[in-house]
Amino acid sequence: APDLEAAQAIVDEHSQIPTFEPPGEPFDAKACMADKKLFSVPTSSSIPFVDGIETSMEEVAEEIGFEFQQWKNQAQPTQWVQGMEFAINNGFDGIDLMAGIIPSSLGPQAAAAKAAGIQVFATHWADTTTPDDPAATHSFPIPYTRVGEIIGAWITVKTEGKANVLIIGSDDVPATTPYRKSVQATLDKLCDGGCSHTYVNVPVAEWATKIQTNVQGALIADPTINYIVPIYDSMSQFVLPALTITGKKGQVKIATFNGTPFVIDLVRQGEVEMDIGESLGWIARSTIDAEMRSLCGLDVPEDLYVPLLIFDKDNAETAGVPAGFNQGYGDEHVSGYRKLWGLE
């Protein structure tokens, strides 16, 4: 029989505004970072979420008082290469590869940076279960498997353990595989055999051309599908028209992850059932914190502390109307980190 209680517990845990948990000892960030320079290469500056983290990091760095530079790019590996070399040539102390760049996919540049005494960080890039990338000095993953558990639990609760789930992922994003396996495993475990699931892999570059047709095909071929999990929430915009056009709107629910504002808007409007969000200000601070600790020679945390919060019809408004990246998660982290860094 489905374990609805366990499922409900997971859901409840992530339905509350997160609390601040210090990732380590307090330290004097201002003093130790005074002569240090940090460089950040995001996977793409045209992704608002990513660019938002960068901007937030820039503000935090200014608050603490050290030099921070981001390398604006459009997701071209050759641009990342240029950024890395720029950092190496201009005396930076640390390079942050942010939001999905695989350090060993820039192996030569990472090696050159390390050889020049520069620390290379991979942040917000993979799951906590993914082995650390040897090309990076430190890897700071986030808990995608936990995201998978939350989604699995949510669906179990909502369907009382009788779900037929279509999962759509992109295997070209490193976090995908552990994350979607976690969704599948959670469904298997909590539903106790009452849930079935199919997985479709659509590479990021083909979202616009393939998600809609594949969802349509799957819905028509298997009319019992009642949940769709686009594992990154920006996919939902291609799932929704498939629901509209096959007349499944309202019957088939969408549960997803990322907290992208327009999707939270869709949650508020009832088009998407739930979206798990991660606060961008929280990510920026925990990233800077981990990197400062490494640059200052302190103990570094294993992973980033990125609290996950479920947005559904009831709390979607807390993210703002229209929704923002950083609203609805409370502001404990702001003062929490300030205290931790000795700024107040």
Binding site: A205, A208, T209, K210, I245, T246
Partner: protein, 330 residues
């Protein structure tokens, strides 16, 4: 004179010509039957057929926008960016700034016209190859889209648009299909049965001949660019209506499929010429394959293999029917 020449209507049916014109239609039917046999219940359902017809109407629209300048001998690589801009303008104006939908739509189509004019100006005044101009303007427009959208997806568009695009149905097929069909009929008529259409064709095939036959070649090309810009922007509006949101990137992925459909379509119905119904058939030929494969639950990379393979194979077969006579679009 002999009776035979006097009554041309009595000429025997030209089978070769028909085989050539309908080879792609035949391939489409065969493909349909194959998937129908493999997945009889799901694939042959009216729900599936109407879904296929409705969901790719946007691509049909964009392909139709493209064949206008192609017929007049110009490439337009900016169509996909224009689509995206049209979509984004409607979203920004309507959802973010509260401008009423009709006004937002007029603005978007106007922007498409402006893009057409800019393309035409560079091509016709500076005499630059259309490929390079539209490659450049397309990239530039992408920049504008990223700018006005703040790189993010914008939803919250007046639901009336969605209602009139995909929600309302006739015979179970969303309205957008009928819009695409209407545009195809209009282009078929204009290309085939008006002197305007003839002029386009002559401009595309022989600029100097056209000029000396009293056609204002530059004016015709100018209006072709404007038409493709306006139809592309309209396609953007329909895209928003299909998806209910506008994002700054996904429209660009339609560029190569539109070219594929335009060139594949030029092997059907009126072989050797870009034509409206050929384009329509080409889009649905490719869609049937993709849909069938996804229903069978086959890995998505197989869809790429099908898409590329079917495109080339279909054209190769139609070339065999034509005895491999060289394709000449200019």
């Amino acid at each position: 004179m002999s009776e035979a020449t006097a009554t041309p209507g009595a000429a025997p049916i030209n089978w070769k010509r028909h085989a050539e014109a309908y080879a792609l239609v035949f391939a489409l039917v065969v493909l349909f039957c194959v998937f129908g046999a493999l997945k009889p219940v799901a694939f042959l359902s009216w729900a599936n057929i109407s879904t296929m017809l409705g969901s790719q109407s946007v691509l049909v629209f964009l392909t139709l926008a493209l064949i206008i300048p192609l017929t007049a001998g110009d490439f337009d690589l900016s169509i996909a960016a224009t689509l995206t801009l049209g979509a984004m303008m409607v979203a920004v104006l309507n959802a973010q700034m509260g401008v009423p939908l009709p006004v937002a739509m007029v603005c978007a189509i106007g922007a498409g016209a402006v893009i057409g004019m800019v393309n035409a100006w560079f091509v016709l005044y500076f005499r630059i190859h259309s490929l390079i101009v539209t490659l450049g303007t397309g990239t530039f427009i992408n920049g504008i889209v990223l700018w006005i959208s703040g790189s993010s997806t914008i939803s919250g568009i007046d639901p009336v648009l969605v209602t009139y695009v995909v929600v309302t149905r006739v015979f179970g097929i969303p309205l957008v299909f009928y819009y695409a069909l209407t545009l195809a009929i209009v282009l078929w008529y204009v290309f085939g049965y008006t002197s305007l259409g003839r002029r386009l064709l002559f401009v595309g095939r022989g600029r100097e001949v056209a000029r000396l036959s009293g056609i204002r070649v530059d004016r015709v090309r100018f209006f072709c660019f404007i038409a493709s810009g306006m139809i592309s922007a309209t396609t953007g509006i329909l895209y928003v209506g299909t998806i209910g949101a506008a994002d700054p990137n996904s429209g660009n992925t339609f560029l190569l499929p539109a070219f594929a459909a335009a060139f594949l379509g030029a092997t059907a119905i009126n072989p050797g010429r870009f034509n409206a119904f050929g384009s329509l058939i080409a889009v649905y030929f490719l869609v049937i394959g993709i849909t069938g494969l996804s229903m069978l639950g086959i890995q998505t990379y197989v869809q790429n293999l099908f898409y590329g393979g079917a495109l080339v194979t279909a054209v190769a077969l139609s070339q065999l029917v034509r005895k491999r006579e060289a394709q000449d679009f200019s």
